[in-house]
């Protein structure tokens, strides 16, 4: 096994007055240079998985299973060791750029921070690299932005600042949490190009979390569809888009503009109140008696794995 990231039977729950399990037995792996996309509706647990990998979840979170990064068990590392990895070898682009940037520090300072901390770069050296990173993200006169503050920028600009700060150390694995959310098509193209370049030139792997299926289709090699805290379909992107097998995957593709915005009926269940049997059964058009009672396993066959009785 020489996977860059190997997530095995990851379970996440939260303690509290009423303990809840939110992620159940999620397994996937990412090879070096490979892009994997996690897709699914909001609230299905995509970001929780990302935060679990980076060990950023709140203290009341209960994490079980194993997360191997270059053969090291992340769940067993000390906080100090973890801090060394974060931002350096394992970075994340957080959701909601305007809130993820520090409002009281200039962009120049925020972008230089990872260089100063992890590489102990001097000021001039760091500035040079920051300017290069800004230029790469399509800022025509990067010097202008060194003394720029996040509140002065639009959502699209902040998103690009954030990408620059997460990618400036060329991490081996980059987790991008909804990088295209709220951006206009021209900006999405730029973000897409930047992530693609990063994969090709820096040989970074990408864990892409998104509900933008068009974006996912162009960037990811593999796709994992998440529903209510578990993977319901895992396949190569080309195979998946040609013929999705799980009824939920089919519904997702039906909601796309090119397929006429046909919605999936009903609402996604909250993670703390997953339905019994197959978790998708209340919204499934092919629902059978068995789906109400029994929970289907993820079954692998012909280059893909599907969690559905119809597929078995």
């Amino acid at each position: 096994m020489n996977s860059l990231l190997d997530v095995k039977k990851l379970k996440v729950g939260f303690e509290g007055a009423k303990p809840v399990n939110v992620i159940s037995e999620v397994s996937f792996s990412i090879q070096k240079g490979e892009n994997l996309a996690l897709v699914g509706e909001s609230g299905c647990g995509k970001s929780i998985i990302a935060h679990a990998i980076l060990r950023l979840l709140a203290p009341e979170a209960r994490i079980e299973g194993s997360i191997l990064f270059k053969g090291r068990e992340l769940l067993k590392l000390s906080e100090k060791e973890m801090a060394k990895l974060r931002g350096n070898e394992l970075a994340i682009i957080f959701q909601n750029a305007s809130h993820a940037l520090n409002p009281v520090y200039s962009i120049g300072r925020q972008l230089a921070e990872p260089l100063r901390i992890h590489q102990k770069s001097g000021k001039t050296d760091a500035t040079k690299k920051v300017l290069k990173a800004l230029a790469q993200l399509g800022f025509s006169s990067p010097e202008k932005y060194l003394k720029f503050y996040p509140s002065w920028g639009s959502g699209g600009m902040n998103q690009r600042f954030l990408i620059a700060s997460s990618t400036i150390l060329e991490p081996e694995l980059l987790i991008a949490d909804e990088p295209s959310k709220g951006l206009d098509p021209a900006r999405i193209k730029e973000v897409e190009r930047e992530l693609w370049v990063l994969g090709k030139e820096a040989k970074s792997s990408l864990l892409l979390i998104s509900h933008d299926l068009g974006f996912v289709r162009r960037l990811a090699d593999k796709i994992a569809v998440l529903y209510s805290g578990e993977i319901v379909e895992l396949a190569k992107t080309s195979v998946f888009f040609k013929q999705p097998r799980h009824p939920y995957s089919q519904g997702l593709l039906g909601s796309l503009p090119e397929n006429g915005f046909v919605p999936i009926p009903g609402l996604a269940p909250a993670l703390c109140e997953s339905p019994s049997g197959c978790r998708f059964h209340p919204r499934c058009p092919f629902q059978k008696e068995k789906c109400l009672r029994e929970h289907p396993e993820l079954k692998a066959r012909e280059e893909r794995a599907v969690r559905c009785f119809l597929w078995a």
Binding site: S42, G156, D184, G254, E258
Partner: protein
């Protein structure tokens, strides 16, 4: 009678002594009952500002907006109240549209009390509205942060519908939502429009969404509107 937008221009000063920047100029179009005007264009071109001017939340530098023949910037007293009620705006992020410290029921009852609808009729009206937007009554007892984006956007639309508007400015109503929820909200907007004969101004940078929803459309780019 519709909403007539006539030669709107917006400029704003950058800093205290620097020159004014022009956002857009001479933007004119009409909104009609039961029809959707789709407005596209890159971010930062002033689409949202244009929407805010039309509902009277911002003032234009030049030009005017006419509702039923009279300028909305000259409306006073009860006429202004009617206009504010009849022309509504729905925002991109539904979480920002609700008071985080109030339960949903409270937020909705506040709207009804503004309309001077007797307390006894309120719950019935709310129940009917929830049915229209496809939500369970259980959401009334929740706080905004306990609901999903799709549920909140349905509620934002529902709250607007309680006011019985004639026009709704939809400012990126689905860009914060998932594809599957986006499809649900767009279908819901169409259904409500057909029933209530609502006029929409749909602001979106997603051309596929605009193509699906709009009867006619325009693109705001480089400071001017080109109609298609």
């Amino acid at each position: 009678m519709g909403l007539k937008i006539e030669k709107l221009s917006k400029r704003y000063g950058k800093g205290l002594f620097s020159r004014e920047t022009e956002l857009f100029r001479d933007v004119s179009f009409k909104l009609e009952a039961g029809k959707t005007f789709g407005l596209t264009g890159p971010s930062g071109t002033g689409k949202s500002t244009l929407g805010k001017i039309i509902v009277g939340l911002e003032k234009p530098s030049q030009g005017d907006v006419f509702y039923k023949g009279s300028s909305i910037f000259e409306l006073r007293g009860s006429e202004k109240k009617v206009f504010r009620r009849k022309v509504q705006m729905m925002f991109q992020d539904p979480l920002d549209a609700f008071n985080p410290r109030k339960k949903i029921e409270r937020s909705l009852l506040d709207i009804l009390s503004l309309l001077k609808i007797p307390g006894s009729k309120g719950p019935d009206k709310i129940r009917l509205m929830l049915k229209t937007v496809g939500l369970n009554e259980e959401v009334l007892l929740r706080f905004p942060a306990q609901l999903s984006g799709g549920q909140l956007q349905r509620l934002a639309l529902g709250r607007i519908l309680l006011l019985e508007p004639a026009f709704i400015i939809l400012d990126e109503p689905t860009s914060a939502l998932d594809v599957s929820v986006q499809a649900q909200i767009l279908q819901l907007l169409k259904k409500v429009q057909a029933r209530e004969k609502l006029g929409y101004l749909l602001i979106s940078h997603d051309e596929a969404v605009v193509r699906f929803m709009a009867d006619y459309c325009g693109k705001l780019e480089h400071g001017s509107l080109s109609l298609a």
